[in-house]
Symmetry: C2
Subunit: 246 residues, 2 copies
């Protein structure tokens, strides 16, 4: 990381939480790679952004695309994702995550999980996700830089963005059932979204569950809602969403 003590603030839990939210709630990202045919010239392209159950970002890429060829030759990459909207683009929070890309073969045990998580977040990818030239990468975060607006820059570790839980595999195995239960429980959704129950339309859908919270989508909007505490097993998720919102 570049040393820039003059502009970096001390990284606290609020910054870590904001970094996770800003990253997680984006639909697409800019991916920077080193182009092999030009001796490592930077190349930045747009990709849809997904997340595995441990919060590692995932992308789906055609092997015909420059960024795929680059990642297969040199796994170092950088992901920029951030909020946008009215007014100055530099006033909106964004995060740069430097990662090491890991291609996930169809024979990999994690492939089915990545495919389902990605499709729930990006249903239109159904059109090409199974084409033989398409490939998933897990982009394992090494370090990150959060810019929360002018003069509000923070350095983060890769671990600051990740979910580490002994219950990960059990929750992954139970994810289908948990999603069905959550999506039929409007009161639980409104609790997790922190909204008045009347504001929660049926259009909000939970697309993913992990040990720390849930991902939701409504139209073009992605939301992340954290559980009040890390859960220890799938039944703990259930206990949380049937009890805690009362």
């Amino acid at each position: 990381m570049a040393e820039k003590p003059q502009v970096l603030r001390e990284t606290d839990d609020a910054a870590r939480k904001l970094a996770r939210l800003v990253f997680r709630e984006q639909r697409s990202a800019a991916i920077g790679v080193l182009e092999p045919v030009s001796d490592g010239f930077p190349f930045v392209s747009r990709a849809l952004l997904g997340f595995d159950i441990d919060a590692v970002p995932i992308i789906l890429a055609s092997q015909l695309a420059t960024h795929t060829q680059a990642l297969l030759a040199d796994a170092r990459c950088s992901v920029l994702a951030g909020r946008s909207g009215k007014g100055d683009p530099l006033a909106h929070a964004r995060i740069t995550v430097q990662c090491r890309a890991e291609p996930i073969a169809r024979t990999d045990l994690r492939h089915a999980r990545l495919r389902e998580r990605f499709l729930r977040r990006h249903p239109k990818a159904q059109l090409y996700i199974d084409f033989p030239d398409f490939l998933f990468f897990r982009l394992n975060p090494l370090r990150a830089s959060l810019n929360a607006g002018f003069g509000r820059a923070y350095a983060l570790t890769g671990d600051d963005l990740l979910i580490s839980s002994a219950a990960m595999e059990a929750i992954a195995a139970a994810e289908h059932a948990l999603l069905a239960e959550l999506n039929s429980n409007k009161d639980a959704l409104s609790y997790f979204l922190g909204e008045e129950r009347s504001d929660v339309t049926p259009a909000w859908q939970v697309t993913a569950v992990d040990a720390e919270g849930i991902d939701l989508v409504q139209g073009d909007a992605f939301r992340r809602a954290d559980f009040p505490r890390e859960v220890e097993n799938p039944d703990d998720v259930r206990a949380m969403f049937v009890k805690l919102y009362r």
Copy 2:
């Protein structure tokens, strides 16, 4: 450039025109650089996007920022800029431009022009543009890749994006006067915007003039309007906007 004959279409004038528009009309971009302190690891960050009179993209960067330190150590960089909006982010046109960055010192004769062009496009940069650690870069385009949506990829040269005109310096010298005349001529603006005259509100402001057209801004929206033909001198610009819209 990566060889990807299966996905590249033949580059025609329509693709060149779209590439210029998509690039020129963006307010900010993702800049990918090679981070020196980590042996050239890619780093992507958000920057406001401006353009010099020859259409070379310009950025204003703090010397405390990672991308500035990187560009001063290795001038190779990549700029991703593109449209966004409702629906799938991959359905919206975007362009990757690979560039060689050239720092522009305050003593450089081009500095005042860059400063004024940048400020007209990004008035809020007034707050920090003259801070001693801030620096302009011209990002000279070497080659580009336009992605106009699924299956619509084109390779472009740097020259495809640039404006080459013998009248450049004369137009630059006359730009202040031309801007004042254009911004007071609502009929000319409506002609160049291709809109019914009644649709042109006074909020549209011309921020730049060059040999091929004008840049306009209204609130957060940037527009580019090309002249019907390249102009040969400042009076030719005047002749165009007082006559052609009739």
